[in-house]
């Protein structure tokens, strides 16, 4: 006999007289995506800026109109200087970042896998990591000269340490249960490293890439400001010295685009490599 069969317990569908709806208290605290807002904010900002400059509210010495910055940029492109600056900057960035990352991955794996390597590497990294690497540029200039090598070395050094930390943190974070599973199936040490530890550490390694790439861009600009003929940093510095704010804004905008491109590339890589998540 079930409870529903009791007299008077028949299900009612009509609300009883005097029934009130329960007041709603949930909702909120969950931002939902609004696609059009971002572009709109940009458009409004640029429109206001342009209007302010044209009306004379913003002095051209302080801040040029966006259209003037664009003009400066297209002049730069037409004169062929843009390609020179970009090429100089990109080749330093790519060389420094790639060598720093490769070395960082190798050393990070050593620290993650071998007790002896860890005992040697971790204190060293702890001592070097907090040094703002740009402080080492003068030393690198003495060692390698004022040319490309000292700039690449600064970027290499700057990307190396965060990569080591990300990689060995990632290796530590790999589920030991999976490693034990690999051992229990008799996999070789090399197979365990390649098929279990490397993919398991990949999320941490890729988020390390994001950090090291942004550090690399900062160091690139700083190194180029200290002594370079070509490069975005040199261009921005020269524009500042000449009070050419239109060129200055164009240079800064290029850096923003460079940063966005790098983070987009890393995002693509994450999508590909971490498809399983």
């Amino acid at each position: 006999m079930s409870d529903a069969a009791l007299p008077g317990a028949a299900p009612r569908t009509e609300p009883a007289p005097g029934a009130r709806p329960v007041p709603f208290r949930g909702g909120g605290f969950r931002p939902t995506p609004r696609r059009w807002v971002g572009p709109l904010v940009f458009a409004a900002l640029f429109a206001a800026w342009e209007a302010g400059s044209r009306m004379g509210w913003i002095s051209p010495i302080v801040l040029p109109a966006p259209s003037e910055a664009l003009e400066a940029f297209s002049n730069l492109a037409r004169s062929g200087q843009l390609a020179l600056h970009l090429q100089a900057s990109l080749s330093r960035l790519v060389q420094g970042w790639i060598f720093g990352t490769l070395l960082g991955i190798a050393v990070g794996f050593a620290a993650g896998l071998f007790s002896l390597a860890r005992a040697g590497i971790v204190p060293l990294v702890a001592a070097f990591f907090p040094i703002p690497k740009i402080a080492l540029l003068p030393l690198f200039i003495i060692w390698f000269g004022i040319g490309e090598e000292s700039k690449v070395a600064t970027i290499l050094f700057g990307t190396f340490f965060p990569t080591v930390i990300a990689v060995y943190g990632g290796v530590d974070g790999v589920d030991r249960g999976l490693v034990r599973m690999g051992q229990s199936f008799g996999l070789s040490r090399w197979s365990i490293v390649r098929k279990i530890i490397l993919p398991g550490a990949m999320p941490a390694i890729l988020s390390g890439f994001r950090i090291s790439a942004s550090i690399a861009i900062i160091l690139l600009v700083a190194a180029e400001m200290i002594g370079a003929e070509y490069g975005i940093g040199a261009y921005v510095l020269l524009a500042g010295n000449l009070m050419a704010t239109d060129q200055l804004v164009a240079g800064v905008a290029m850096l923003s685009i460079l940063g966005l491109t790098v983070s987009w590339l890393i995002g693509r890589l994450e999508k590909r490599v971490l498809r399983w998540r």
């Binding site: 034990r180 599973m181 199936f185 399983w276």
Partner: protein
């Protein structure tokens, strides 16, 4: 191939976990291991498969594993231990890749174990797309792929809901009927122990000692139908464990 423990004792950081444990896991029979929480069942299983070494005592195997056995001592883990970046097929393949097998042989083995565990339609699914029961089936398929002489299972069903557990229990029984592998099966669930065990080893609370070894003679295939008779075994096991479990529970409350 028979597996045996002789006078095994072990301490972790000075705490005695296991004391003088001896029992055998003969070929083709399922030995269930029950005991209160923290009494060292998982530790014992790690010793049996050679993942850890005991402080004292020996773990031995006698006789040759059956011909074609790739990994005589094979685990099935409570948390499945599947690589999340590999599909069901890829996870099974992992266990075979370090052996000298041609690509064709490997694929045949994988297709065979997928079919035997009812996973053929899920071969390319990633672990995150599978339910708990399906994940454990993949882990079982992976274990079968290396043709084990002895399966070492640490609470393989305890992460699953009770309906799924019942289904997998039937699966395991069916697989045993066909393969006749030896197994050591750790569980908290006495109903599982009497459904699958030819022998149930009851351990005391920490430090774990063998309290009793209960033989259950009924053939596995009849156990589902003769549940009432099993009930008696289960009650007896519970009586053996009751005090230990209560004491173990109190101990944790004292800490």
């Amino acid at each position: 191939m028979d597996l045996a423990l002789a006078h095994v004792s072990h301490r972790y950081n000075g705490v005695e976990v296991l004391r003088d444990i001896s029992f055998a896991a003969p070929a083709g029979r399922i030995v269930c291991l029950v005991g209160p929480s923290g009494c060292g069942k998982s530790t014992l299983l790690r010793f049996l498969g050679g993942l850890e070494r005991p402080d004292e005592g020996q773990v031995t195997m006698t006789g040759e594993p059956p011909a074609g056995s790739l990994n005589p001592l094979t685990y099935i883990f409570q948390d499945f231990a599947l690589l999340p970046w590999r599909s069901a097929r890829g996870n099974i393949s992992l266990a075979l890749e370090d052996h000298r097998l041609s690509r064709r042989e490997r694929e045949e083995i994988i297709a065979d174990v997928l079919a035997r565990t009812g996973l053929s339609d899920f071969a390319d699914a990633l672990p995150r797309q599978l339910s708990g029961g399906m994940k454990q089936r993949v882990a079982i398929a992976r274990a079968l792929a290396v043709r084990p002489a002895c399966l070492l299972m640490d609470e393989p069903l305890s992460a699953l809901d009770s309906q799924t557990r019942e289904l997998l229990l039937d699966d395991l029984q069916g697989l045993w009927e066909r393969e006749r592998f030896g197994a050591v099966y750790v569980t908290h669930n006495l109903a599982e122990a009497v459904r699958l065990g030819h022998q149930v080893v009851v351990l005391s609370r920490r430090p774990g000692q063998v309290r009793e070894i209960v033989e259950i003679d009924m053939p596995l295939s009849e156990r589902k139908a003769r549940a009432a008779e099993l009930e008696a075994h289960q009650t007896r096991l519970w009586e053996l464990m009751r005090e230990e479990a209560m004491a173990a529970d109190q101990e944790i409350a004292d800490v």
